[in-house]
């Protein structure tokens, strides 16, 4: 219980913001894609992910791997398959509509005109098929018809489906206030349980609504019946008001129907709450669940060193940090995300002992520091100073016994070195790298590279690390 309280108390404002933001994103996805195929596929992917987590928890290596692969592929497929729908949202005139507000479909569609036209055609036994699209893109499923783009009117609709009109056998697509296409061929339903009284128009209407969120209105030529197809359901419509109501419901047209508004508000509130609960659960599972431990070696970064001060020596260059957190966070942690920074602002020349505190260590969110080793770091600081030091050659090997080196001139004789004052006080000569004597048999010149020791000292700018060595060889008497 104490652990739960400690876990709750450790929640930062960033965590609250993190949960709220992701909950809102999830809620907006629901608002934008509800009652569409995209939403159904998203739900499917969410279930796949959930099962994959369970498989991981149970240690089902192959299963979790396979489900993980399918989930990743499905996420990719959803972008490809539903690219048109996604594009239609991203290309919306009001981009803020993605983040705020509730989309309404073609609120100005003249529902009454359509209903009156449909029942007029029913009275005349004129066959008709009118499609009112939802959020899904129909381009993937419908056959190309004839572009019409005419304003909806009773006369126009009746004339389109007039038996002598060449396009009367196809469907008419209605978007907003306009009839966009006519003579459109729809995919036929393959269902076997349809009554024999339903003809090709009914099968075409079902074929479309089974695969999309569109609504289709069918007028039976033989019986003069009006039927509405939505999803895989077919409903017989008895009057204009009923058809108007269904069309308004499909188009999301706001009615002065308090009950319907209340129902929608309750639905959205439930969706918002579900989003919050789901994201909170995921957040806790990521950041607090299944505690794991890891030890990492992290280099120490020394901060706020005064420009005239040099770090001469340190007891350690890196420390071991022991971290705990949820398995997911621990697995995803990168050494580059962890920083150990020691503040040298209060350091003095000479030996300094610093104690590493949690404030000196930067960790990714959700990771808890459990131990540091070593906790104390010795840092030796020195004041930077310059000195001229003589150069001496470091010979190795052997001169032939009959020869002797009698004279040596090094150019330059001295070099200027910069380094910590205490270090430089202990250095009186700069030696070259080893020069071999074995190949020398007469006077000559060599170029030698200087070897700075200790490595904390360096040349003052302008001084070359190479010197010229002129030597004189004589025969031994």
């Amino acid at each position: 219980m104490d652990k739960i309280f400690a876990s709750l108390l450790s929640i930062r404002w960033q965590d609250v913001f993190d949960i709220t933001l992701n909950s809102y994103i999830l809620f907006r996805l629901y608002v934008l894609f509800r009652r569409t195929n995209v939403f159904r596929v998203l739900i499917g992917i969410a279930f796949l992910w959930f099962f994959q987590r369970i498989a991981v928890f149970l240690g089902l290596i192959l299963t979790s791997w396979v489900i993980g692969g399918i989930t990743a592929a499905a996420a990719l497929i959803i972008i490809v398959v539903f690219r048109n729908e996604i594009r239609s949202y991203l290309q919306a005139e009001k981009i803020w509509a993605i983040l705020w507000g509730f989309p309404r479909k073609a609120v100005d569609t003249p529902v009454q005109v359509i209903a009156e036209s449909v029942f007029e055609m029913a009275r005349r036994h004129t066959g008709a098929l009118i499609v009112v699209p939802g959020k899904d893109d129909l381009e993937e499923v419908i056959q190309t018809g004839v572009t019409w783009d005419g304003a909806i009117s009773k006369e126009m609709l009746i004339s389109i489906f007039w038996p002598d009109n060449p396009v009367h056998d196809g469907a008419a697509i209605v978007r907003g206030t306009r009839i966009t296409k006519v003579g459109v061929l729809l995919p036929l339903s393959r269902r076997n349980d349809l009554p024999s009284k339903y003809g090709t128009r009914h099968r075409a209407a079902l074929g479309l609504t089974e695969t999309t969120d569109a609504l289709a209105v069918v007028v039976s030529e033989e019986r003069g019946q009006v039927i509405v197809s939505k999803g895989s359901q077919i409903h017989l419509i008895n009057n204009k008001d009923e058809l108007s109501s269904i069309l308004q419901d499909h188009l999301g047209i706001a009615e002065e129907n308090l009950g319907r508004l209340k129902r929608e508000k309750v639905e959205l509130a439930a969706a918002a709450l579900a989003s919050l609960v789901l994201i909170t659960g995921i957040w806790f599972s990521f950041t607090r669940g299944f505690e794991s431990l890891v030890a990492l070696e992290v280099p120490i970064e020394y901060m706020n060193r005064r420009s005239e001060i040099e770090i001469v020596d340190t007891s350690v260059n890196a420390i071991h940090v022991y971290l705990s957190g949820s398995g997911a966070l621990i697995r995803s942690i990168q050494p580059s995300q962890i920083h150990v920074r020691l503040d040298l602002a209060n350091g003095v020349v000479g030996h300094n002992t610093f104690t590493i505190t949690p404030e000196d260590i930067t960790l990714p969110p959700g990771i808890i520091l459990t131990k540091v080793k070593p906790r104390m770091v010795e840092v030796k600081l020195d004041v930077l100073t310059e000195r001229s030091l003589p150069v001496q050659v470091d010979w190795t090997g052997r001169l032939p016994r009959n020869l002797v080196m009698t004279q040596l001139v090094i150019t330059p004789e001295t070099v200027r070195i910069i380094g910590g004052r205490q270090v430089l006080n202990s250095v009186s000569t700069v030696y070259t790298e080893k020069l071999r004597l074995d190949t020398i048999n007469k006077s000559g010149t060599l170029t030698a590279k200087l070897a700075l020791n200790p490595t904390s000292i360096r040349f003052v700018s302008g001084y070359n690390e190479n010197v010229k060595v002129d030597y004189v060889i004589k025969k031994r008497f």
Binding site: D394, T396, M405, T406, Q407, V427, T429, R476
Partner: protein, 155 residues
């Protein structure tokens, strides 16, 4: 710094500073005459500073002179000498030969010098482990460096 231990560990000091090279009066007449002119007192010589006129690393000393002067010596010869000659020596005093292996003081040898001129030397023996760059700092009794002789011990 424990000089006594270095003294005993590494070096065999040939305290043979002993050899006093008094040149014949005819070799250095001006100084001799000068001393004489001053009636054996030392105001003139005392006012002169101790001057190192010759310093050399060599393989040996023969007849008060350095033999086989060089700057590279084989560890096989076992011993190296540092020869120094002063003229004038204003008063009886000491000089030091400080032998350094790289930057580590190996031994410090005190050598007596006497007026009016004096030559003296010190030496050290080497082992295989002593190979590398060396230097001898010649200082007066106050520690002022009069000369630095650099040499190497090799195979």
């Amino acid at each position: 710094m424990n000089f006594s231990s270095d003294w005993g560990r590494i070096m065999r000091l040939r305290l043979g500073t002993l050899f006093l090279v008094l040149f014949f009066i005819g070799v250095n007449p001006p100084l001799r005459l000068q001393a004489q002119d001053t009636g054996g007192t030392t105001p003139v010589t005392a006012s002169k500073e101790l001057t190192l006129v010759k310093a050399a690393m060599c393989e040996g000393i023969k007849n008060s002179s350095p033999q086989n002067q060089a700057i590279i010596f084989s560890a096989a010869i076992g011993e190296v000498f540092c020869f120094t000659s002063f003229d004038p020596v204003p008063e009886k005093s000491f000089i030091y030969h400080n032998w350094f292996n790289r930057d580590r003081l190996s031994t410090r040898i005190r050598l007596a010098i006497n007026p009016p001129r004096w030559s003296t030397y010190s030496s050290t023996t080497f082992r295989e482990a002593d190979k590398g760059p060396w230097r001898v700092e010649v200082t007066d009794q106050d520690g002022h460096i009069l000369n630095i002789l650099r040499f190497s011990i090799t195979d």
